[in-house]
């Protein structure tokens, strides 16, 4: 599991299928998905509700085991990867959820440090400094000691971004990160995400329904009924 050279894709899927349930309850959700995301690229994934976007994201995030097809994330083949290997891949992936999923009993700074704590080589003080630096980068330098409870929705989502980036991920997965935010705040958060990811040279795959943020993407991928739309891999105006 060596570091992927930056030109290689961070995500590469070929013939990826996924079904929920067994027997008569079995429902095919993903059908031969094939696409790739290069390092430093920002890709948006859209499509109607229930078409399988979140399922695809959990597969790429190594949160579920691959049933059929090939999926390589950060150079690690995930088909037939065991629990421990999937965990090690997850360490190198930053995830941002629809709900912010911050730890309620930790301050903003401590939440971000939970991300930085995954870095094995840094001493406690350095990881703490990393946490502060990321909070300043998302504009929350004055809110280090506040609990999630006392932060606004946009601020919480920014803490979540800082937490995801503090672990120095090579790939960032985000599932509707702006869903709980108003249009302007959502836009700000996504702009921030794009800028920071770009600085880190980290690939981004973001699921969104929000038409106002489509233009931040390098590429737009559309899904329907568990399939990528033909010709969906279109360049955006950038």
């Amino acid at each position: 599991m060596t570091e992927t050279p930056s030109l290689q894709p961070v995500i590469q899927a070929r013939g990826l299928c996924h079904a929920y349930g067994r027997g008569t309850m079995r429902r095919q959700v993903l059908q031969s998905i094939g696409f790739s995301v290069a390092s430093g690229e920002i890709v948006l994934l859209t499509g109607p509700s229930g078409c399988g976007k979140t399922t695809l994201l959990t597969l790429i995030g190594a949160l579920r085991s691959v049933q059929q097809g090939e999926l390589e994330v950060l150079g690690v083949p995930l088909q037939s990867a065991d629990r421990e290997r999937r965990r090690r891949v997850r360490r190198r992936i930053g995830m941002i959820f629809q709900g912010h999923n911050l730890l309620r009993c930790l301050t903003a700074e401590q939440n971000v440090q939970m991300g930085a704590d995954l870095l094995p080589t840094l001493a406690y003080g350095e990881r703490r400094a990393v946490a502060r630096q990321w909070l300043r980068a998302v504009g929350l330098g004055d809110h280090l000691r506040q609990f999630p409870h006392d932060l606004s929705g946009g601020q919480k989502q920014r803490v979540a971004i800082a937490r995801a980036l503090a672990a120095r991920p090579r790939l960032l997965l985000a599932d509707e990160p702006t869903a709980a935010l108003d249009g302007r705040t959502g836009r700000e958060v996504v702009e921030l995400l794009r800028r920071l990811a770009r600085d880190q040279g980290c690939g981004v795959l973001m699921v969104t329904h929000d038409p106002r943020i489509l233009d931040v993407a390098d590429r737009l991928v559309t899904m329907e009924d568990g399939r990528l739309m033909p010709g969906a891999l279109r360049q955006t105006g950038r």
Binding site: T54, L57, T58, G61, L63, R64, E84, R87, R88, R90, R91, R92, I93, M95, F97, Q98, N101, L103, R104, C105, L106, Q110, Q113, M114, G115, D117, L118, A123, Y124, G125, R163, A167, D175
Partner: protein
Amino acid sequence: MPWARRRIPLAWLLLVRQPVRLAIALAGIGFAGILMFMQLGFRDGLFDASVTIHRLFDADLVLVSPRTMSSISMAAFPEGRLVQSLADPDVAAMTPVQWEFVLWRNPENRRTRSILALGFDPEDPLLSDPSVQRQAPLLRLPGRVLFDERSRPEFGPVADWFRAGRSVQTEVSGQRLRVAGLVQLGPSFGADGNMLVSRETFRTIAPPGSRGGIQLGLLRLRRGADPLTVQRRLDGQLPSDVKVYTKDQFIEFEKNYWRTSTAIGFIFTLGAAMGFVVGCVIVHQILYGDVSDHLPEYATLMAMGYGLADLLGVVAREGLFLAILGYLPAYGVAQGLYALIRNSTRLPVLMDPQRAGLVFALILSMCLFSALLAMRRLTDADPADIF
């Protein structure tokens, strides 16, 4: 783990950032701890108290009747057996002792109460207690008594009056006796109070049925003689109407009576066990609820790349912190309650390191066991659920 490699102390923060839950948990653990301390303390205190005087006897070997079951039912045996044992080359000296419960009349309110009377020759050593040795000659006068000032207060304000310089007289078994001095022995489970008299005086107060024979024979050995060897030899030589014990065996014999022939041990051990169970239930409730409440957060941590082992460690550490935080106040309160018990019952209930360690071990296993059960809930934390 080196200090620089430490992480955010999540277990600790989970506990302290939920003060109400923490307070309930600590109250529960503290309660369980105090209950265990009290029950075990009482049990050990009662066993210890049953041998307060036994420990003080100035003897290497002790002769008792084989019909004697415990200090509350001492049977008599012929005094000649004691004299006989003097023939052994290793036996240096002896003290015949009479031991009976008699009725003491409280000099203040005239009520009577059963007290343990020891009769001995004031010239012979009886107890290895300096104040007894110093005051024994006072008993040469007939009708004099050394009163145990640590007897329960129901025997009257004897010590106070005596110290104030009053001449304290009272009636024991209908005989007028005068307090010649105060000694400090302590009540036991069987005897609420103690008094020492000469054998002449003892004869006047002993119940008519028991005036022949003695209840106890103390033997002191020559220097260097091994008590166990002499005990075996004497026990073989002497007729079967007397039994020979070493002092330690005698103490153990008495304790064993209270342990096996009474329900004391069972009752108090059961009480302690109940404290343990109650504690387990409370800690389990708290930890299980805690894990359930934070399940999405644990799932998030797993999605970030933390392993199940990391999360199990968090729960285990929560259990460890609860054990320590719950134990300390329980220890403190138990110290106070022990002092209270000593003052009100005069039982020797003390915090000994062994019991302190035992209760800590019980609390620790209680918390870790509950943590273990709560961990099963963690396997429900599926990182795939959080998107």
